[in-house]
Every structure is written in C-alpha cells, then in structure tokens.
Amino acid sequence: MSLKPHRHLTHRQLCDVLLADSQETSPRREQMREHLRDCPLCAAELASLRQPLSLFRSATTAWASHTSASCSRTLPALPDSLQSPLRDGISGRRLSRPVVWASAAALLFAAAIPLTLHEHRTSYAPTQETVVPGGHPCSRQIDRVGDEALLEEIDQTLSSPVPTPMQPLADPTAGRSNQIDSTPRKN
C-alpha cells in the first residue's frame, strides 16, 4: 500500500507504527516513517497516543514496585535456620522432614494414650467385684497374700490342742522359770 503525501495515516497504520519493533525494516514501514517525518498532523497524532501509553507504563511499574516494596517491609525477618536450607535449594525439604515426622509421631503417641488407658480398664473389669474400687493392682495382690496369712493363722489356732490365749495356763513355768512377769494383764 503506497502512501500519498496528502493522505494521513489510517488508524491501523498508526497502530502498526506503534506496535512495530523500532528496528523492524520493511518498505511499507519505511514509507510510513517517511510520511510521519513529513506530516506534522500524523506525527502529533502518533505522539498523542504514544506519550500516554509510555506514561501509563511508567506509572504502573512504579506503582507496582511501590506496592510490592511496602508489602515486603511489613514482613518479619526469616529465622537464620531457614536461610541456609533456602540457599541449598531442594535440600531444604530434606531438613524439615525429620522434624515433621517427629512431630507427627508425638501427635500419634499423644492420641494413643487415651486408647491405652481405655484398654487397661476393660481388661481389669471382671475382677473389680473382689477388689476395692479404685485400688491399684499391686495393692490388690498384697491384700490377697495378707488374707491367706490370716486364714493360715486362724487354722493353726483352731487346730492346736490348747488355744493360744490359754497356753500360759497350760504350762506357767515353761522356759520362763526365772522370770517374773510384771506386765499388767488385761481381760
């Protein structure tokens, strides 16, 4: 398309000039550039379009930088422990894993404790009738041994020919002939 001197650039041609790479060279582009040099109206029109676009870009870039910077200023500093994993790239993931697993194990352990207690309670439930409620298992065993000793002692007492309280009367001097019992007797 050839450009006549008396005809101004169309909207598309102006846009083409605006969108074109400045280093792009083609006969058509050269004609348009030549026309812009000769035609002040078209040059003014192009400038009136190009200037606000340039201003808009500068303003938007500065605005975005300012917004981004103001955001970053509000951030707390990263702890040093995170700086080195970051510098190491992917290895940062490896460093954090053991801590995660340890924390997860601790959480699982904490969750398992109530279950274990519940299991203990159900396993002792059948013997609860013979044991003092709330008693410790060890104390229950000691009590059982004590009971057996007491029963044994009662059996011995009953099976002996002279009851234990009457033994001093059966043989008053047995083994204590030279001793005087001065302790007061109780009925």
Binding site: L19, S48, L49, T67, C71, S81, L86, S103
Partner: protein
C-alpha cells in the same frame, strides 16, 4: 482491603488451612508460617514455602530448581501484570504466590518451549481468568466503582519536579487511559496490558494467551481505537 468475592471466599481459607498443616507441625525456629492471605511474603519466605510443598516431580532438572532465583527475577513482573489486571494489591499478591505455587507443582511440564516468563505469565493469566470468571459480577462492580483511584497511580508518574501544568496534563492522560482500560473486554485488556505495560512482542502475547497473532492485532487495534476516542472526547470537553 476486603475480598467479598463469593465462591473463593470459602475456598481460600480451606486452601490456606490445608497448606498450613505441615507448617503447624514444625515448631521453634524451624517453623514455617504460611502468612494469611492479605500479607505479602518475601522471596525467601515464598520460596521456602513452595519448597516445603510435596511434589513428585523433582527428578528432571528445570529452571525452577533454583526457585529463589526464579522468584527474584520474575516476581515483580508477574505482580505488576496481576496488579494492573485486577487493580487490587492484595488479590494480586495472592495470585502471584499462587502463580509460583502452580509453576512449582507443575514444573515437570515445563519443556523449555517458551521462556520462563511466558510460562509464568500464562499461569498468571489463567488465574486471572478463573478468578474473573467465577467472580465476574462482583469483580466488575468493584472495578467500576474504582477500587483504585487513578490519581493514586498518577502520583507515581516520573519527573516529579516538572512543571505543575505538565504534571496535570500527564495525570489527566494516565487517568483517562486507566479508565478506558477498565471499559475494555477482559481479552482486550489483557492483550493491551501485555503489550503496553509488559512490552511483550505480539508473538509472545499470542503464545501467552493462546490467541492467533492476527486476532491479537485486531484486539489491539480496537483497544487503541477506544483509547483514541476517549482522548478525542476529553479534548472536545476541554475546549
């Protein structure tokens, strides 16, 4: 800034909670804390969080193995694109983090057919699309009510020591352009921003958006026609 967008209002806390679980397990100095949605994360924090994400794809080396460097290099650009597209700093920050998270998780799919920035921009654009698709009505109601004041953007114009009159004109120009962009269709706006803010080549835009080159050009012609019409209108009003 409040995100009153429905749908993802419930999704985001769930996602954050799920991601926090491994972090909560850590204690003491090694604790990784995933910051709440509206807080930004430094490059190190973001990279560390992403590195702690479990992903099966780690065998094949990719540019994302040096994640901190990738984030350092491309984060400003991705954030800028998202900020210009969404006009919401908090949301842009959230989606920037999400972009790198997705890139990290699917890094095995990166074959090197395109540049890293093209790939990241494609992910970011998909996130914007997802977001605007599900939250279309509230999103646009919010945008139309000008969540970001154009004067706020114009305050960042270069040459702060120039003449007051020149600054006023420049501020007006940026404000008109800002408002015009908000009236463009989502596709036109994306292409416009990729070209005139990110300064991408047309072929690169075509690759990012998946739109044929000729269609990309057509969208830009229409977007620029809108911009010219708005400038002509404002000039008429001024006279």
């Amino acid at each position: 800034m409040q995100h009153t967008l429905s749908g993802q209002k419930y999704l985001f806390p769930a996602v954050v909670l799920l991601r926090c679980v491994p972090s909560v397990l850590l204690s003491g100095e090694g604790a990784l804390t995933l910051l709440p949605r509206r807080e930004c994360m430094s490059t190190e924090a973001l990279a560390t969080n992403l590195l702690s994400e479990t992903s099966p794809a780690a065998a094949i080396p990719t540019p994302f193995d040096d994640l901190a460097a990738v984030i350092d290099t491309h984060r400003p650009r991705i954030f800028r694109f998202l900020l210009a597209s969404l006009r919401d700093a908090d949301l842009a920050e959230t989606l920037t983090q999400e972009t790198f998270l997705r890139a990290w998780n699917s890094r095995a799919a990166f074959r090197g057919d395109c540049s890293v920035v093209t790939w990241l921009t494609r992910i970011a654009l998909n996130l914007v699309r997802d977001h605007t698709r599900t939250q279309r009505f509230r999103f646009w109601r919010r945008v139309s009510s000008q969540a970001v004041d154009p004067a706020e953007i114009a305050a960042f114009l270069p040459h702060p020591d120039s003449l007051a009159e020149s600054r006023f004109i420049a501020t007006e120009q940026v404000a008109i352009l800002w408002q015009t962009i908000s009236t463009l269709s989502p596709r036109q706006r994306t292409i416009f921003l990729l070209r005139f803010v990110e300064e991408m080549d047309l072929s690169e835009i075509s690759s990012v958006t998946g739109i044929p080159l000729s269609t990309v050009k057509s969208h830009l012609y229409r977007a620029l026609a809108n911009v010219r019409a708005r400038y002509a209108e404002s000039t008429r009003k001024a006279l």
